[in-house]
Symmetry: D2
Subunit: 147 residues, 4 copies
C-alpha cells in the first residue's frame, strides 16, 4: 500500500515528537527509519530490561511495537496533530532474545480520526532476525497541545 503524507516534514515531525517524550529515549529507543506510513524503532538489549527468564521484558517489546506503530500513523497526519494509542493487542510469538531489537510499524488503514496500525518486533542476533511479537493497535489523532 502506497501512502501520501499530508506535508513534506513528516520525518522531522516524527523525530520531534519522539524526542518530546521522555519515556522512549529513557529506555534507549531510537528511530531508525521513517517513510510514509512506516516507521522503524530499535533498542539495544541490556540486563535491566529483561524479565525473570532472561528475555526482553514484554513491556519493552510492547513499547517498541507500539512506538513504531504509533509513529507510522503520525507520518500520515497533519503537521499539528499528535497520536495516542486507543488500544493495542500484542501476541508474543517467541521469547524476545537478541542483542538488539527492531520494531517495524506500518499503517494498515489510515483515517481522519482513527488509524489502524501493525507493529512487528524482531530480535537481532549476529545479524539474524527472529520475529518475536506482532501488535495491532488503534491510534487516535489528538490536537498537539492537549489530550
Amino acid at each position: 500500500m502506497e501512502f501520501t503524507p499530508r506535508h513534506s516534514d513528516y520525518e522531522a515531525r516524527v523525530r520531534a515528537s519522539f524526542a518530546g517524550q521522555q519515556a522512549m529515549p529513557y529506555l534507549g529507543m531510537t528511530v531508525e527509519r521513517v517513510a510514509p506510513g512506516e516507521v522503524e524503532v530499535a533498542l539495544v538489549n541490556r540486563p535491566e530490561l529483561t524479565q525473570q527468564l532472561g528475555a526482553l521484558h514484554g513491556a519493552f517489546v510492547t513499547a517498541l511495537a507500539d512506538g513504531a506503530a504509533g509513529y507510522a500513523a503520525l507520518t500520515l497526519m497533519p503537521a499539528d496533530a499528535e497520536v495516542v494509542t486507543v488500544e493495542l493487542k500484542i501476541n508474543f510469538l517467541r521469547p524476545a532474545l537478541g542483542e538488539r531489537f527492531v520494531a517495524r510499524g506500518r499503517v494498515l488503514k489510515p483515517g481522519r480520526t482513527l488509524s489502524i496500525c501493525q507493529g512487528d518486533v524482531y530480535g537481532v542476533q549476529d545479524g539474524r532476525e527472529t520475529h518475536v511479537a506482532t501488535l495491532v493497535a488503534t491510534m487516535m489523532r489528538v490536537a498537539n497541545e492537549a489530550h
Copy 2:
C-alpha cells in the same frame, strides 16, 4: 470468585519472581499486595516515564497491568512454575495522569496450562483514584528453569 493456592508460600513465590526480573524494579514498580488470584503493583510517577502529552507512557501502563495480571496467575501455580504472557490487550480509557499508579490484577479463569487474567490500572492523585486502563491477557505456565 474464591481461589485456593496450591502451596502456602505463594506470596514469597511472587515476591521472589518479581525481584528476579530486573525490568520491573528498574522501572520502580513495587508489589503492594498478594492474595490468592490477586496481585497489586504500584509505581510512583516521574518525568522520564511520560509520553509527549505529559501522561504516563502507555508502555508503563501496560507493564503495570501485565505485571499485576501475570503475578495474579502465579499465585495459583505450583511452587516450581513460572508464568509468561502469551498475549495481552489493553484499552486506554483516559490519559494516565497521577502522582502514583496502581494496577490490580486478578485471575478470571485459572488453568493448568493457560490462565486468563484481568489487570486494571488507576491513576492516584490526592488520594483519589481514576481508572485509566483495562487489560485482559492470557498467561502460560512454563517450567521455572527454562522458557
Copy 3:
C-alpha cells in the same frame, strides 16, 4: 458506575436498532434487559449454532458479547446516533455449553466519539450460569443514516 442517558427513550432506541439489523434476530438473539450503560442479550442454543466439539460456535459467543456491549454503548448516545464496533477482543474461558446463553454488556468508559465496553457471556444450564467468555471492545458513534 452510574450513567445518565442523554434522552429518555434509550430503551426504545436500542430495541429499534436491534430490530433494524437482520443478523441478530436471524440468529435468534433477543434483547433481555436495557438500562443506562447496560444491556443483556440472550440466545437459545440449537444444533446449527455449534462447532465441531458440540459447544456454541465462537462466532455466536462473540456476536452475543459484541451485541450486548455495543447496545450498552448506544444507551448513552444521542437519539440520532448509531454505534459500530471499531475492534473487539474476546477470551474464551471455557467451552460454551448450555441450553441458553446470556451476554451482559456494560460501558466501561463512555465518550463522545469512542466508548469502551465490556461484554461477558454465560452459559445457562438448569438455571446455573457458567462464565464462558469475556470481551472488551471499542465502539464508535456514527451518524444514523450513513456509515
Copy 4:
C-alpha cells in the same frame, strides 16, 4: 514462511472438521483453498447477515476470519488433533460491503500446544477486493474427541 504439514491428508482433515461443525455451513461459509499453514474461507452476502447499516455484521466477519485462521492452524497439526480458539482480536478497517467475502488465514507461529494465526477479510465487489478486517488469534490444540 514455508510450513511442512505433519501428514499428507491435511486438506481432507480440514474439510472433514469444517463439515463436522454445523455453524459454518449453516452460515453458508465454504472452504475455498487449503495449503500448509494457509486456508481461505468464503461467504456469499445475503440480507439476513447484515447489520443496521447494511454491511455484513461483524459477527460474520469475525466468523470468517476466525475460521480461516483456525483451519490454517489445523493444517499443521497431527491427524488426530482439533483446534479451538483461545482468544481472538479483530480490527474492523472499513464497512464490510461486497457481494461476497473471502477470509485468508495463515499461521504466524506454529506450536505444539499454541499457534498464533492471522486472518484477513476482504469484501469482493465486481471482482475487486477491499480489505475490511484483520484478526490475530491464539489457537490451542485439543484432542479430537474431547474439549
